[in-house]
Symmetry: C2
Subunit: 213 residues, 2 copies
DNA sequence: CCGTATATATCTACACTGTAGATCATGCCG
DNA sequence: CGGCATGATCTACAGTGTAGATATATACGG
């Protein structure tokens, strides 16, 4: 058997095919048979390289996580790094809308995941956040950023038909929707919304930085 | 065929069985055949009542959403109502850890979902948040609360082995983990963390309330 | 009472899924 | 040459959702 954990070329090829196939046909259509056909091989030939489908999905998570590390290690102060990482997460979601959900589904404690979290920890510490508050704020930040990115690309934020119509159809049962009819009728600007969320989250973080001087 | 959309008794019975079965054996084990066996019927007998497995899962979402409405409509001021709703979400996640993820997966625009969002809109308006900021803040709040609750019950926040050990094993690559070793070694208090997150989110909301007087 | 409609449950079958197990081909090393 | 590891293949099994045709039971108008 080949060194399954090692990053030999064949394994990379399979993972790349899996990623491409998932983004093209949807995550649900990512079957071992479909991947095998894409690589030009029989289904069982994949197993020595990826172990199992579950392990293959973990491999995809690694592929995605690796794309986030550069931002977490970019230059500049702590705030620039946090913003860059958050934007990288959103960019990743938009580049890989189908596979992005794997980051949320699979509790990933791979080395790269730890490295990523470590970068966030370091930024928060550098910001002056007291150590005992750092883990919670990292989880809050990560949850909000990952959740927003997933919500945006999965369509959870913009159901069809529009919530505005739904609010109208509910009539008396949705008074606040009626009051917000004008605002809800405007198309959402996800870029602006993401940046505003980021501002709010950084504001929360700064709350916990003791004043100096 | 029975009135599939109507809430006749048989449909309720099936949905209840599905919910129970999913929580007992896991969401992945929720198959039409397993449910049918539980109800004491053949698989195909379910279809007139639930339409399809997809529609059945939507039905489960409705079942869960219905448990959140009372909190959103509870008495008290806007802040009490937001806190009550958030706590209800977390309680729901803890009561139904397996099926809770359906709320995030399935972009639900059911009547109850709209009613729930409407309650949040109303609370934000009552708080004095300018209308054009209400939808974004609702999405931020919902994303953070749903995401935290899901993260807590899915184990995404407490991987095993502990991140602390992982940080150690990575050694030089995770300096911030080392710096936080003491804090990370302490067991997390999710109750306290949730309340702290809630405080932070409400603080963000109050930022957008123009000063009066 | 019968006949008919309506609702509910059943059975079979199809096209999928992940993957265990056995087999076969190829190339490398001593 | 033998021996062995590597890689791919083929078959088969247990499971999935569900289309389609068939049966059964219940209720109602005559």
């Amino acid at each position: 058997m080949p060194e399954q954990g090692v990053e030999n070329g064949r394994r990379r090829e399979i993972l790349a095919a899996a990623l491409a196939l998932a983004e093209e046909k949807g995550l649900a259509a990512l079957s071992m048979r479909a991947m095998a056909a894409r690589v030009g091989v029989t289904p069982m030939a994949l197993y020595p390289h990826v172990g199992s489908k579950d392990a293959l999905l973990d491999g995809l998570v690694d592929l995605l996580l690796a794309q986030l590390l550069p931002a977490a290690r970019s230059g500049g102060g702590w705030e620039d790094r946090l913003r860059a990482t958050a934007r990288a997460v959103r960019g990743l979601a938009r580049r890989h809308p189908e596979t992005f959900r794997l980051l949320l589904d699979r509790a990933s404690v791979t080395p790269d995941a730890v490295r990523l979290v470590d970068g966030l920890y370091a930024a928060l510490l550098e910001a002056g956040v007291p150590p005992q508050r750092v883990p919670r704020l990292e989880r809050l930040l990560s949850t909000a950023v990952l959740g927003f990115a997933e919500g945006e690309v999965s369509g959870r934020f913009s159901p069809s038909p529009d919530r505005w119509d739904r609010g109208r159809s509910l009539g008396e049962d949705a008074p606040a929707h009626r009051e917000l009819a004008e605002v809800l009728a405007r198309p959402a600007d996800w870029d602006a919304e993401f940046e505003a969320n980021l501002d709010d989250l950084l504001h929360v973080i700064r709350r916990y930085v003791p004043a100096v001087g």
